[in-house]
Symmetry: C2
Subunit: 333 residues, 2 copies
């Protein structure tokens, strides 16, 4: 008899999560009701935002409850259907979390075409991370041709797309990433104009060198020291889309605020947060445009796939250690 | 023979300025050239921004140079004129600094009507502070009727105007100020809906109580802890015009960045700096509108006048100690 392996939240983490915050359970398969389908999870998306969902605090989505299956984006296949809109074998995406099987129905799941792009890309460049980059850069950052766009976490799922879209919009794209391999990837594979290796370079000096005309848009995925240094280099009327702050997510004390925020005043600049879900009504148009860029070879992506639901925790930690290149994905089925 | 007492910058301060950073000199009166006028200073404007101008760093205006007359807004009277557009006796405003006499000409000085409003108001509600409040609130904060507008430094020259304009625009205005007298002034004289005495109240609890529907616009004059607490109370799509950070200006170490800035992300909110000078082309329209509000009794102001150019330093320190109510002005002549 088949079982459903599920990763559930056992307790709330303080600082960097350890294995003890999860329980791994084997439960009976759920049974789809009328109108529902049973989905076999193939890929689970691992995203920095998941760390925030573990904290018991008011945010843009409720925290994951203790005892609940860990929330995550998923790509899977319909294995049983009580819904005429879904056939067995259809591929779908949704938010059914870190488990081998799940029951769901519309509008929580969406069919995707496995022949258009590789399946994992539906969780990366064509999924939430790609859309986050698209709307954060274009709607909040509003880059103009010729401007300098600085991106942190630039080799990651969101940053790599933000930088490439900056190039498509005829901006100078400068990426900050950790390590020589990621920087090489930005320059040689993704076409960034410059890359800063924050693990091996003096970031302040490197910003001066790689952004000689200052920074017009700083797309921030990391917060902390790098945000503070970027603030010293912004131009008049600069825009700083706040996408995330991965350097700060595992702090157990108060996070580091940007000491140099008065640079916003001096430069009449703007720091603005955004959440991709707010742009939902424009997803189809964004996906269409990004699919064209992918087809034209202008938008590339890489996925870093870890196998086995039992490796969820160690895979999850790679988000924070940076030991991965591109979009981090857990292969479950 | 008349002399010109001038306050000059002798050296750059570290932390809270002490008297030794200034030299007071008595020099011969300057002589106006063709097209110029000689002005006798009556009032000097004392503004928190002056502290920033003492630091040797890139900003929206160059720092005051060592040995130069301290930069400041001024209202004075023409005592000698080589310019047909100015008569002896005309009242003018300009940026001639902390000295008894100065030579200037158009476009650096502007005539004002002494019969329209009290002279000191040209340095307050109808001067740079009033315009700062007007544009910062309306153009950056963009308050909508029914929204909650929170103002820090609310009894000061800028904050008091920002709060009153919020009321004129049919918002709920909540002010933060130091001490019972200032809070009483906000409530009883200026018509704020609520006041928080940060020196004697738990600001977090007071924010919860006075802003039960959250904060839509936070007009920040102070930075530091209060900015951090305000960030915990902002609503979706809130706007935070960054006008100043007086709590931080005299720090000799790195200033305190807002630890809670990720509230911008969660709430899709915006923190934006501005400088009043950017709105120069709209000054006439703003002054017209504010003059109507003053005439209609909707916009009130108070000036706190300290007498004697020799008291410049002790008067200047009141900006930071808060020992004044309303717009701080030094009476020179």
């Amino acid at each position: 008899m088949k079982t459903n392996t599920q990763v559930k939240l056992a307790k709330r983490p303080v600082g960097l999560p350890d294995q003890s915050i999860w329980t791994i359970e084997k439960n009976p398969l759920p049974v789809p009701k009328e109108g529902e389908v049973l989905i076999r999870t193939i890929y689970v998306s691992l995203d920095p935002a998941m760390r925030g969902w573990l904290n018991d605090q008011k945010s843009y989505v409720p925290p994951v409850q203790i005892g609940a299956v860990m929330r995550a984006g998923m790509l899977g296949q319909v294995v049983e259907s009580n819904n005429p809109n879904f056939q067995v074998g259809d591929h779908v995406t949704g938010w059914t979390g870190v488990q081998e099987y799940a029951v769901s129905s519309e509008p929580d799941i969406m069919k995707v075409d496995p022949n258009l792009i590789p399946l994992p890309s539906y969780l990366g460049v064509m999924g939430m991370p790609g859309l986050t980059a698209y709307f954060g850069l274009l709607e909040v950052g509003k880059p103009k041709a010729g401007e300098t766009v600085l991106v942190s976490g630039a080799a990651g799922a969101v940053g790599s797309v933000a930088g490439q879209i900056a190039k498509i919009k005829k901006c100078r794209a400068v990426g900050i990433a950790g390590g020589a391999e990621k920087c090489r990837y930005l320059l040689e594979e993704l076409g960034f104009d410059a890359a800063i290796d924050y693990k091996n370079e003096n970031v302040f000096k490197a910003l001066k060198k790689t952004c000689p005309d200052g920074v017009d848009v700083y797309f921030d995925n990391v917060g902390g020291e790098i945000l503070d240094l970027a603030l010293t280099q912004i131009n008049l009327h600069a825009r700083i889309p706040i996408c995330g702050a991965i350097s700060q997510y595992n702090r157990s004390d108060a996070l580091k605020g940007p000491s140099n925020y008065l640079s916003l005043l001096v430069n009449r600049a703007r720091m603005e947060g955004f959440i991709v879900f707010d742009f939902q009504k424009n997803y189809p148009q964004a996906i269409r445009e990004m699919a064209q860029w992918i087809a034209a070879g202008k938008l590339k992506s890489k996925e870093y796939v870890v196998e086995g639901i039992e490796n969820f925790h160690s895979a999850f930690l790679r988000l924070f250690s940076g030991e991965k290149l591109g979009k981090l994905i857990l292969k479950v089925g």
